[in-house]
């Protein structure tokens, strides 16, 4: 990312962001106090939301839902429509921000072909009239046969979210939190509901840790409204794509309809997502397909369930099914892929048995040579939310400023961008000191809380007069820093201890 790119990105903020976010904030405030106790101000905020949606395909239904809700009749369908309106606003914001980014950097992005073969379609999984599309026409991952309990679980989920909305965050008490427990447990057991279960489990843990919320000083208002909204949409019939997680490393079920690609994957870095009971390593890279197709930006994700006492570098040990991928991360090597499924969202559905470790590969060199020309993937409509924007960039020749409290900004020409130091995971070796001492940074541009920030994936820094490259995935096969190894040895092997306990106690 050059000086001019950064200037264009920061100067070119879409003008209507503030207006859209005002509508979102108004809705979010209603969720704080609960739909059961709408004040005039809240009713006004909802009316503004309806006005904002007028003229869109949702306009009429939003107006109707707002009318009903204001009159005290809060039906599931009304909440769903309001959640849809908020999602549409965030989606529009996402589109404007990503388009601004692409324009500033000159990044070419494939468009989302709603009809083209291979584009992901959302097939209602609970609609008996609609059988899954035949192989090759959609991206139904796996067999997609909805279990008999799925519809009930989704209904249970909607009703719990309804209860939350009625009570409002301030009214969430122990009983509401406890009521989610069985629901989440049952959803976790249902592979097709994993996304929703992981989301709800994360939200519930936050509500529990924040109790009593009634007296909590400040609420994460935007965040919780985001999570509530997303959960409500995913729990609608047809809200989740028909999907069955592909067990790793081998699967008898193929990824139906997904394009498969062969070629060389050059890793840029890994972004780690984590809450108490889930971890996901999302690898960003550039795929050079066999033949003479243009290089493409891709992501690939491997995830596992965990518990809160498994923290730091131990989380890598949960991703046992992908030794080839983790090895390439730790050793900075390219990967040779054969017939790897690729969703039209640019996500490779990783199959470790279809990859082999290739030549050494330097992510900084990959970024320098290929990033500018790589074709970026489109974003599936339902996933369009600013939080998903994570665009790989390489910054060089900047000046680092260390602020009070340890936060960092990078200055390039007359412009500065914040470093998302709070996003650096403790499962990897990156630290704010390394970023502060760096001359090059490979990272993801993200947008949150009203601005762009760079989330580092790798830095090139001068440490004791030597140039050292540090990558977030360096410890994928275990920590390489002796201090961290020693600290880990002191605490013992959390994963092994819990697996031993599970083996002894769980199957009695």
């Amino acid at each position: 990312m050059l000086e001019t790119h950064l200037a264009d990105l920061l100067d070119g903020a879409p003008p209507a962001i503030g207006d859209a976010l005002d509508l979102v904030n108004g809705f979010d405030d209603v969720l704080v106090h609960g739909f059961a106790r709408l004040t005039e101000e809240h009713a006004g905020a909802l009316a503004a939301l309806a006005d904002g949606m007028a003229g869109t395909p949702l306009g009429e239904r939003v107006a109707e839902a707002v009318g009903k809700v204001a009159a005290g009749s809060i039906g599931d369908e009304h909440l769903a429509v309001l959640a849809g309106a908020r999602t549409a606003l965030m989606g529009a914001l996402h589109d404007a921000l990503l388009a601004g980014f692409d324009t500033a950097l000159g990044r070419t992005r494939q468009s989302w072909g709603f009809d083209r073969p291979g584009s992901a379609r959302l097939v209602p999984r609970n609609d008996p009239d609609q059988s899954p599309a035949p192989a090759g026409t959609g991206v139904e991952v796996g067999v997609g046969a909805a279990g008999p309990g799925v519809a009930n679980l989704l209904a249970g989920c909607r009703s719990w979210l309804h209860e939350l909305a009625i009570a409002g965050w301030r009214g969430v008490d122990h009983d509401i939190i406890a009521a989610s427990s069985q629901l989440v447990e049952a959803m976790l057991a249902e592979p097709g509901l994993r996304r929703l279960a992981v989301l709800l489990d994360g939200l519930v843990a936050e509500l529990r840790a924040s109790s009593p919320i009634a007296t909590m000083e400040h609420l994460p208002v935007r965040r919780w409204a985001d999570l509530w909204t997303r959960a409500l949409l995913l729990s609608q019939p047809g809200g989740l794509p028909v999907s069955t997680p592909v067990p790793v490393p081998k699967s008898t079920v193929d990824v139906r309809g997904a394009e498969t690609l062969s070629g060389r994957l050059l890793i840029l870095g890994v972004d780690v997502h984590e809450h108490g009971t889930a971890v996901q390593a999302q690898v960003h890279g550039i795929l050079e397909p066999s033949g003479d197709q243009a290089p493409r930006l891709v992501r690939t994700s491997v995830g596992a369930a965990k518990v809160d006492t498994i923290v730091g570098p131990s989380v890598w040990r949960l991703l046992r099914g992908c030794p080839v991928l983790l090895g390439a991360l730790a050793e900075h090597r390219a990967l040779d892929l054969t017939d790897m499924p690729l969703l039209s969202s640019g996500d490779l559905v990783w199959r470790d048995d279809r990859a082999s470790v290739g030549e050494p590969s330097d992510p900084f060199a990959t970024a320098r040579v290929l990033l500018a020309a790589a074709l970026a993937p489109p974003v599936p409509p339902l996933d369009r939310h600013p939080v998903r924007i994570a665009e790989p960039v390489l910054l060089e020749g900047y000046a680092v400023t260390v602020h009070d409290g340890g936060s960092l900004t990078l200055g390039l020409g007359g412009h500065t961008v914040s470093v998302a130091v709070d996003r650096m995971p403790d499962c990897g070796p990156l630290t704010q000191e390394l970023v502060a001492a760096s001359s090059a940074c490979l990272g993801l541009m993200r947008w949150d809380g009203g601005g762009w920030a760079l989330s580092p994936l790798a830095v090139r820094a001068t440490v004791k007069r030597k140039t050292v490259d540090t990558h977030s995935g360096d410890w994928a096969l275990g920590p390489t820093d002796t201090k961290v190894v020693k600290a880990g040895a002191k605490h013992g092997d959390a994963v092994a201890v819990l697996r031993e306990r599970a083996g002894r106690l769980l199957r009695r």
């Binding site: 406890a178 400040h218 935007r222 984590e274 491997v302 403790d426 106690l505």
Partner: protein
């Protein structure tokens, strides 16, 4: 989430999508006390028996009242409870302090947190008495906890996890 941020910062924080709400917990040795939690109005957990690898003890201290109890998962009372908290309860308090920090545990139990740095400090400030509670609830929560590790890995992207960035390197 600390109280030192100014009004402008707080407003910005409230408008963020991705942030850490649950305070970070510290790594600790799990062999002796594999499970500790602050939930259901109690500090509760599971302590492995020192003598029998097949046996575990379920120990708990209630918030506010400070009623404490310890028994095997089959509700057989712990022999160490003789008018004061047993070794299992001491171990539970020690590990809770390591995992959550003394402050957070003391606040949850509603113990004067001032000067509390160890599990022993915490136990010393309890004013409750022994009160039998069923072990089943805590034990089943522990089993559910363990069951997470039995769930299959997945390589399908979970876009929702973008709301949950891994953190912790910034101190």
């Amino acid at each position: 989430m600390d109280g030192t941020t100014g009004r402008a910062d707080r407003a910005a924080w409230q408008q963020r999508s991705a942030l850490r709400v649950v305070p970070a917990i510290q790594p600790r040795k799990l062999a002796k006390v594999p499970f500790v939690e602050l939930a259901d109005g109690r500090l509760q957990g599971v302590v492995s028996s020192g003598s029998d690898i097949e046996r575990v003890y379920v120990s708990s201290i209630s918030a506010g009242e400070h009623a404490y109890h310890c028994s095997t998962n089959n509700n057989r009372p712990c022999g160490g409870l003789r008018g004061s908290p047993c070794n299992h309860l001491h171990a539970l308090a020690d590990e809770a302090v390591l995992q959550y920090g003394a402050d957070r545990v003391a606040r949850y139990l509603r113990v004067d947190a001032d000067g509390v740095t160890t599990g022993a400090d915490l136990i010393g400030r309890l004013h409750g008495r022994h009160e039998a509670t069923p072990a089943a609830v805590v034990f089943s929560r522990f089993l559910r906890h363990l069951a997470y590790l039995e769930l299959p890995e997945t390589t399908e992207p979970i876009p929702e996890l973008h709301w949950f960035p891994a953190t912790g390197a910034f101190r």
